[in-house]
């Protein structure tokens, strides 16, 4: 199959590169629909990767790459449930997200996130599963979860710890501040910064270069240098679920959901 169109994303394969395009309005928030589509993509990867050497993940939403978890859906669906059921459902959701993220992280392809605009929370975590991040100069990265009384729950901290120094991780996590692409490149998060609107082109050009290398060697190198931090990922789910039961989280989620701003991302 060379092209597949799902509700929140699409993929196609051309010249040995799989391109996964996120296209859910307003900014690719990851809720049950996007997760189901990502699961379908992860399942399809088994056969897609036979004809490919690279995967590029990008977004066609003007606002950015991905604004993170669908907090409105999370709040709406968890509110009416008793606490034990709420936690059971949340843990099930997080475990499904982690399975998809781990599949992307360990895919035997060289993976590139081509990001622009808002790359926040779960969107940042999705980008962190990739081997390389190519960022439009207007990209902005942020872990805003502490503002909600939570930690990132889609594997962000363990992957950031794997890739960057602990001081940078603490800065991003504990301040919840957003950083631009230039700063992200200076701390080692971003591989290349492009001019506005050029990230996908540069990602494609990079993917074309990778095609020249022996694929088995590339896969062996990736396995050697990019282990999946399974223990920390499991701990992250436990901590997230513990924090989620606190009333402060409920209040923060309610404030976010009830905000009159169309896109209430600023603290």
């Amino acid at each position: 199959m060379n092209r597949f169109e799902a509700k929140t994303l699409s993929w196609q394969v051309s010249d040995g590169t799989i391109e996964l395009l996120l296209h859910r309005a307003p900014c690719n928030e990851i809720g049950s629909a996007t997760l189901a589509d990502l699961e379908q993509f992860a399942a399809a990867l088994e056969s897609l990767q036979k004809d490919a050497h690279a995967l590029i993940i990008s977004s066609d939403r003007k606002e950015g790459f991905c604004a993170g978890a669908d907090l409105r859906e999370l709040f709406r669906e968890s509110q009416p449930l008793p606490q034990t059921e709420r936690l059971r459902k949340l843990r099930g959701f997080l475990e499904r997200v982690h399975r998809v993220m781990n599949a992307l992280d360990s895919a035997p392809l060289t993976t590139i996130a081509a990001v622009h605009g808002v790359t926040f929370g779960g969107g940042f975590e999705l980008a962190l599963t990739c081997d390389l991040i190519v960022a439009d100069k207007m990209a902005r990265f942020c872990f805003p979860e502490l503002r909600l009384g939570l930690i990132p729950g889609f594997g962000g901290i363990p992957r950031l710890k794997r890739d960057l120094g602990n001081a940078v991780v603490r800065d991003l996590l504990l301040t919840g501040r957003s950083i631009n692409a230039t700063k992200a490149q200076s701390v080692g998060l971003v591989s290349q910064v492009t001019s506005e609107g050029d990230a996908l082109r540069v990602a494609r050009s990079t993917a074309a270069q990778l095609q020249k290398f022996d694929r088995a060697t590339a896969v062996a190198a990736k396995r050697f240098i990019k282990p999946i931090p399974h223990d920390d990922l499991r701990r992250e789910i436990d901590i997230f679920c513990d924090l989620f039961t606190r009333p402060a989280v409920d209040a923060a989620l309610r404030k976010f959901v009830e905000s009159s701003d169309a896109l209430p991302y600023l603290p």
């Binding site: 808002v118 919840g176 501040r177 631009n180 896109l263 600023l266």
Partner: protein, 80 residues
């Protein structure tokens, strides 16, 4: 080092250019959310453009409660 007046003028010019508002319609004391008709996501976009323009890093929490161009320019000035 530019003066605060220079910095404010640069902020107003950049905002007018990017959001396609006549420069003459923007004033230092204006609420940029209202005058430019932008939401918080577009404000982040403005912040990124200002960081690139002035070659500074301006944490978004420093803009908490800031909605007028003059105060925005003061925050930038403190990082120059």
């Amino acid at each position: 080092m530019p003066t605060i007046e220079n910095t404010t003028e640069e902020v107003l010019t950049l905002a007018a250019d990017h959001f396609k508002v006549p420069r003459a319609q923007l004033h230092a004391g204006d609420d940029f959310f209202k005058t430019l008709g932008i939401n918080s996501l577009q404000a982040l976009d403005l912040l990124t453009r200002l960081e690139h323009h002035f070659h500074i890093e301006l944490p978004d929490y420093e803009l908490q409660g800031v909605s007028d161009f003059r105060t925005l320019a003061e925050r930038i000035q403190s990082r120059l």
